[in-house]
Amino acid sequence: MQHTISVIVENDFGVLSRVATLFSGRGFNIDSLSVAPTNEEGLSRMTIVTRGDDQILEQINKQLNKLIDILKVLDFTDGSAIERELALIKVSAEDEARAEVLRVVDIFRAKIIDVTPKSYTIEATGNPSKIDAILELLRPLGLKEVVRTGSVAIGRGAKGWNG
């Protein structure tokens, strides 16, 4: 089962390495990883999509909490969060295929950000299953390159992660 975990970390040298080493050392899976600074001084936020059963997930949460540079582990598995991902998709498109690409882009409210006579490059955002869906529809037309950011997630409601 896939789980999305957000981790608030001190933006110190080596933190990303420590988290990665923790996952690889204990055989936990990383499906995707995204990290960037937050609005708070010296803090970054990492979003990790992992997979495993409940016992593994509990171990992952506890082991992350144990790391010195980690302030908080937010487990978004129970659906109380909004998840988004961005994808840059380069698709081949010639003759009739060109119109089909534009139709798909329109349906998914994505954007064309680059165009050549033989290709389109598309920017799409949405929850991960929306990104999966647009890729599935574009696949028969010929995907040249796909760059995904991996999920980021934020809780619903008025409160921040810190209350």
Partner: protein
């Protein structure tokens, strides 16, 4: 006060109450050593290998409860400490290891004697720091010591570049620190404690399973008091031997792969396991699927990751072991009127345990012609001081010491349990002797392990550390040989070390004394002669070559499926 970074580092150590350090100089720590030359408040001991120096700091920490400190230069000096750091990490020993590093502009440039020691030790340190600026030294060291000794203790590495050591700055040691991401929970929740006592008073076949956390937390006194109040039998892991006196009637001795029959049977037939500062390691549980099938489990530990990692737990209590035990004593006193009935209900359980003790006590076949290793251990116990400190290396001799010495006080057995590092025994004893110059320190080693850090004979003699080195010599890599005998048809592949070494000559080469016993009737006189010597001593005992450690729970078997005779 203005001073250079190297001097600042030493002032930090002084502020943290460090009086003894073990280190080996080199190019990137030469500035540190120059400041150390006149720094009277710190006693420095030079080993002959950085691994041994770091093991010595570890041994020092294990006997005193203080943070052990070791220094190594960059590159090969730092990599030589890795095994010892991993050893401390697996046993949760508080240490700070300071490694020199090339000047900051050269980091990442494949400079001379440069190594990414932080990267290399990331999986086996509790935390690590790279000091990039002289302004950061004091805060880093304060954090390093705090992290090393608090919560679940562990080794912290501080990488110290040469240019930072040479920079000048103002020294100001912070009064207090706050690490946002690290707030260990030391206080056991009172409601959980209430539930625990209720569960205990409801049980009929309880057993206390005590691990190294009880020693690290200095909880031997409340542990002993609580066990006796409740009249509950106590078994300890290798790491906790001595936290409950083995001479007490309630003691079941060590459990696990080479634990006693009665300890393992008690765990397997219990209806309530009270786990105290222990982590249900594979050496203890045997096959997890069939582990303690009828038992509810109360798990007391300062580290939440240890709880429910291997076994399902009915009542977790996160907190410092000593704190939780003291709360449990209070709660028991509140329920004092229930105790007499509870204790009398334990009679059939105690009878079962007594029966197991009679059926298969820890024993060995005595001999008048060949020295049995177990006999040497028993003689050592009989003839050593009451407050003697014993370190072991790793292997059969380690298990025989655990089985036959009978420990009664905590912090008297130093042994590498988690990592099982050969070569640990002699340097760990060195560290213990440096901590307690007036106590008797004995290291029990096999002929394999003792040679891994034999160069430390020089350190012992030079620093007048009168460690008594007992070598149980069977000319084999004994524990591996045992496995080869039991599971590989006696195909002794690369485990026979036939070369006879004249240990008396070896000791003499270093300026120490050596003794040899080849027959059982020589054992006592050799031990007495060795103990009488004022300086470090080697006492070699030529023991039975193919003796086995029994009982044994083979890999993959259940805890109650012990091999008792083979």
């Amino acid at each position: 006060m203005k001073m250079n970074g190297a001097r600042m580092m030493l002032e930090c150590l002084k502020k943290e109450g460090v009086d003894t350090i073990f280190g080996y100089p080199g190019g990137t720590v030469i500035n540190l050593y120059d400041e150390l030359f006149n720094f009277k408040e710190i006693h420095h001991i030079l080993p002959r290998h950085e691994q041994a120096g770091t093991h010595a700091a570890d041994g020092y920490a294990r006997v005193t409860g203080k943070v052990g400190v070791a220094i190594a230069t960059s590159g090969p000096g730092a990599t030589n400490t890795v095994t010892a750091i991993a050893t401390a990490y697996m046993d949760s020993i508080p240490m700070v290891i300071i490694t020199g590093q090339v000047p900051t502009p050269l980091i990442g440039n494949d400079a001379f004697q440069e190594v990414d020691i932080i990267g290399i030790t990331r999986p086996c340190t509790k935390h690590s720091f790279l000091i990039r600026n002289v302004k950061d030294i004091a805060l880093t060291m304060k954090k390093a010591f705090y992290i090393a000794r608090s919560g679940r203790p562990g080794p912290v590495l501080v990488d110290f570049p040469k240019d930072v050591q040479m920079s000048l700055g103002e020294f100001h040691y912070p009064e207090s620190i706050d690490i946002r991401g690290y707030k260990p929970n030391l206080s056991g929740h009172p409601r959980q404690v209430e539930k625990a006592i209720a569960m205990i008073l409801d049980s009929r076949r309880p057993v206390m399973y005590v691990g190294g956390g009880a020693v690290l937390s200095d909880a031997a006194e409340p542990l002993t008091r609580l066990a006796r109040m409740l009249s509950v039998p106590v078994t300890t892991t290798l790491m906790a031997l001595g936290s409950f006196p083995e001479t007490d009637n309630l003691s079941l001795g060590m459990l696990g792969m080479h634990g006693s029959y009665y300890a393992n049977m008690a765990m397997s037939n219990s209806d309530l396991i009270i786990a105290i500062g222990a982590r249900f390691d594979d050496r203890v549980t045997g096959k997890l699927a069939t582990f303690a099938p009828h038992a509810k489990i109360i798990h007391i530990d300062v580290d939440p990751t240890s709880i429910k990692k291997n076994v399902r737990v009915d009542l977790p209590i996160v907190g410092d072991v000593k704190d939780v035990l003291l709360k449990m004593i209070s709660q028991t006193e509140k329920n004092a009127e229930k105790l007499p009935e509870f204790i009398s209900n334990l009679t059939p359980w105690q009878a079962d345990i007594d029966g197991w003790k009679v059926k298969h006590p820890l024993d060995y076949k005595q001999s008048s012609t060949v020295i049995k290793p177990q006999f040497v251990i028993q003689k050592l116990r009989e003839l050593s001081d009451a407050d003697a400190i014993i370190s072991t290396d790793v292997g059969q001799h380690q298990m025989w010491t655990a089985q036959f010495f009978k420990f009664t006080t905590p912090r008297t057995l130093l042994t590498s349990g988690g990592l099982g590092t050969m070569g640990f025994g002699l340097p760990a004893a060195m560290g213990a002797q440096a901590a307690f110059p007036d106590r008797q320190v004995i290291t029990v080693c096999g002929d394999g392990g003792v040679q891994m850090n034999i160069q430390e004979m020089a350190t012992l003699v030079q620093n007048r550390l009168p460690v008594k080195i007992v070598i149980l010599n069977n000319n084999f890599l004994g524990m591996v040989r045992q496995w080869q005998e039991l599971f590989f048809d006696k195909r002794y592949s690369s485990t026979c070390m036939e070369l006879p070494i004249d240990y008396i000559k070896l000791a003499d080469a270093y300026g120490a004394k050596g003794f040899l016993a080849s027959k059982p009737d020589e054992v006592e006189s050799v031990i007495r002669a060795g103990f009488k010597e004022e300086g470090p001593v080697i006492m070699e005992f030529k023991i039975a070559r193919e003796e086995k450690v029994l009982p044994m729970v083979p890999a993959g078997a259940s805890l109650n499926e012990m091999v008792l005779n083979a």
